[in-house]
């Protein structure tokens, strides 16, 4: 016999979160969706239902923007995955002492004690025409004149992204690798598997939750960035969100809203694709 209170208790428990999500996420999102169909002039927006804002997105300029942003996201994803996986693998399987493992893991987080912006801007004097890298290359005789593509270029943008976001790969991969039962690896080795085969057939499948979570972090962070692109490309490249923020700056909310809706759909599809390949919830529960 359950009392009425017991029956409604679960609903009461989820109510606060539901309310917060509805008020601070659901409603604003609906407003953005609505505004994306509005008309506008220099200072005001007018309720309307028109597709102009979306149709204007179907232009070579914005397609280029999406292409560029997605390229940044994929290149950054591949590099952070390679680095993140290697670092996590080293920490979990090569560092024997638990104390050292945690110490080194914490070391990975040290750069996060300073702000994102400082970590990014520090690259400018390193990569610049008269920066540390170029001066070293010239001093060592490896380059005759400074390599200009190092700064204010796509290379610089990707370097900054990888530096800023690799930790988001390391942490979840480290977490799922740490939970791999060592006896599985022993069994594989006993069965005659080479080290590469162990990685390929045991470790990767068992850390795919971590890889999936890390990928979601990195992809969404890059897709949503505008500051790194702006600074590291010296204003020479743009991203979807940079264009969007320019529109907001001149009060063009409806096209900015349309752009936000499309970006949201694309990112959601990306995340959905990842979740379809890896059932994160199941693996986390296991």
């Amino acid at each position: 016999m359950t009392s009425p209170l017991q029956r409604i208790a679960p609903y009461l428990q989820v109510a606060p979160l539901t309310l917060v999500l509805l008020i601070f996420f659901g409603v604003p999102l609906l407003v953005v969706l609505a505004v994306s169909f509005f008309d506008y002039d220099e200072f005001d927006i007018y309720p309307a239902f028109q597709l102009t804002n979306y149709l204007e997105l179907w232009s070579p300029t914005s397609l280029n923007l999406y292409l560029q942003t997605i390229t940044y996201a994929l290149v950054t994803w591949a590099l952070t995955l390679a680095i993140g996986f290697t670092v996590a693998y080293f920490l979990v399987f090569h560092v024997r002492s638990f104390i050292w493992q945690m110490a080194l893991f914490l070391l990975c987080t040290v750069p996060f004690w300073t702000s994102n912006i400082i970590r990014m801007i520090s690259w400018i004097p390193v990569l610049g025409r008269n920066g540390i890298v170029n001066q070293s290359l010239i001093a060592m005789g490896l380059a005759e004149r400074p390599l200009e593509f190092l700064l204010f270029s796509d290379v610089a943008v990707v370097i900054a992204y990888v530096h800023l976001f690799t930790l988001f790969m390391i942490v979840p991969i480290f977490n799922s690798m740490a939970r791999i039962d060592r006896s599985l690896i022993e069994a594989a080795v006993d069965g005659g598997a080479s080290a590469w085969r162990v990685i390929w057939e045991v470790i990767i499948p068992l850390s795919k939750t971590g890889i999936a979570l890390g990928s979601i972090f990195v992809l969404t962070l890059v897709m949503g960035d505008f500051f790194v692109v702006k600074i590291m490309s010296g204003g020479q490249s743009a991203s979807v969100v940079l264009a969007l923020s320019n529109e907001i700056a001149v009060l063009q909310y409806p096209p900015a809203a349309a752009s936000a809706v499309i970006l949201l759909i694309i990112v959601t599809l990306m995340v959905a694709a990842i979740l379809r390949i890896v059932d994160v919830r199941k693996e986390l529960a296991g």
């Binding site: 220099e42 300029t61 400018i124 010296g234 204003g235 700056a249």
Partner: protein, 436 residues
């Protein structure tokens, strides 16, 4: 003795002169004792001390030190907030009640005055109108020559038909849309240690000789004008009005810029003051659009930088202050009081040391030493070290201001900062250029 002279000039015996202010004024220069007396405060209402005026404007003109000094002199409180130009226009247009004094560039008047968020200023209540430089009051130089009207010439938006007017008057009236405050002439900055030959034309910005070592400001409305000056100087396009391009002119301009970008002409596009300073100081860029204090900031690091006068002339800008429409009664009186104080000299002396000009140079002069005045306004070699408003070193004795005197610089304006009729189209094309 000087005190009594000062009292006489101020025409009042009840004002108090603080020792500090008095010393500052008399110390400035002999015979300039009037500078010691600003004549403020002139309002003696019981509750004036409860008044607070919030001025919102650009970081180059709404400076906290000015607010502090005004508060000290006026007996009511002046507060200041800074916003970048887009955000500033947005704030004033959409939240007009959230501020009291709008400190805006003249081109913003073309967007804001028709919205009826500002109120016209009764020039009979502004003491210094006859002393304001004629660029603003008549659209002329003192010798009667007309000032270039490419872009938003302040004179074109200086007068309103009435206090609540939303359209600009063709000629002088009793109602000003705003009181001109700070202005300057912008040009290209360069590194004379790296570019050893003289730079005399805007076209050098697009010269392949400096490939990968030039930069342009990424604020579309301003960047496109710098680009247009360079393109016109190279002879590619002859603009009808660089400050108000046709769609066709915009298309051609952006096409030329995209070509230049693809061939690697530009090292970067900057949006903030410090970005431009760092680009120049680090040697990433050797010639670029720049603001006057940025050139000084580079030089302060002992790196040579020259704000080069060019044959085609300068791109000028000017700011003005206007009370918001919602001000009435005592608060409006306080606003008039503040606007009068603002041009009474202290502010002019302060901003002069940043390389900007005051719309009433005569009063600013009283708050500058003779050497400072000669250096900043007269274009004469500095007799002693030139310092910034905060007392830090700026230039050594013997240095001459780049571009020379006030009228040599302001007398050669090619165009004014502006917002074009085709602004939306231009911004769209500019974004294509940036993402190309």
């Amino acid at each position: 003795m000087e005190n009594s002279v000062a009292k006489k000039r101020a025409g009042t015996s009840r004002r108090k002169i603080s020792r500090r202010k008095f010393l500052k004024g008399t110390g400035a220069a002999a015979g300039l004792a009037a500078g010691a007396v600003t004549g403020f405060p002139t309002i003696w209402a019981q509750n004036i001390k409860d008044i607070t005026l919030l001025q919102v404007g650009g970081s180059y003109s709404s400076i906290i030190d000015i607010a502090r000094e005004a508060t000290k002199d006026l007996g009511f409180k002046i507060e200041m907030q800074n916003l970048a130009s887009d955000a500033l226009v947005n704030r004033i247009a959409t939240q007009p009640e959230s501020l009291d004094i709008a400190d805006i560039e003249y081109w913003m008047q073309t967007k804001l005055a028709p919205r009826g968020v500002l109120q016209g200023i009764d020039l009979k209540r502004f003491k210094y109108w006859d002393k304001v430089v004629p660029i603003f009051t008549k659209g002329e130089y003192p010798d009667g020559r007309k000032v270039s009207d490419q872009g938003t010439l302040p004179y074109e938006v200086q007068y309103l038909e009435a206090q609540d007017g939303t359209a600009f008057a063709k000629g002088p009236t009793d109602w000003a849309s705003g009181i001109p405050t700070v202005f300057n002439a912008d040009t290209l900055g360069m590194r004379p240690d790296i570019i050893t030959r003289p730079i005399e034309n805007w076209k050098e910005l697009l010269n392949p000789e400096f490939k990968g070592k030039t930069a342009i400001i990424d604020v579309p409305a301003i960047g496109v004008m710098d680009a247009a000056l360079a393109i016109e100087s190279r002879g590619d396009i002859k603009y009808g009005d660089k400050g108000n391009m046709t769609k066709e002119e915009i298309d051609k301009t952006i096409a030329i810029l995209i070509d230049a970008k693809k061939s690697g002409q530009f090292r970067a596009f900057w949006t903030t003051f410090d970005e431009s300073v760092n680009l120049m100081a680090s040697g990433e860029v050797v010639i670029q659009s720049m603001w006057s204090p940025a050139v000084t900031a580079v030089r302060a690091r002992n790196i040579p930088c020259y704000y080069t006068p060019l044959k085609e002339g300068y791109r000028a800008w000017a700011s003005n202050s206007a009370p918001m429409r919602h001000l009435t009664g005592l608060k409006l009186d306080a606003a008039y009081e503040y606007l009068n104080w603002h041009q009474s000299g202290w502010q002019g002396g302060f901003i002069a040391k940043q390389g900007y000009y005051s719309s009433v140079p005569e009063t600013a002069k009283q708050f500058m030493s003779e050497d400072e005045w000669n250096y900043w306004y007269e274009g004469k070699p500095a007799k002693s070290e030139i310092k910034d408003p905060y007392g830090s070193h700026m230039e050594n004795a013997g240095h001459v201001r780049d571009g020379g005197s006030f009228w040599e610089r302001m007398g050669n304006v090619a165009c004014w900062n502006t917002v074009m009729d085709e602004n939306r189209y231009m911004v769209q094309k500019w974004n294509e250029f940036i993402s190309a």
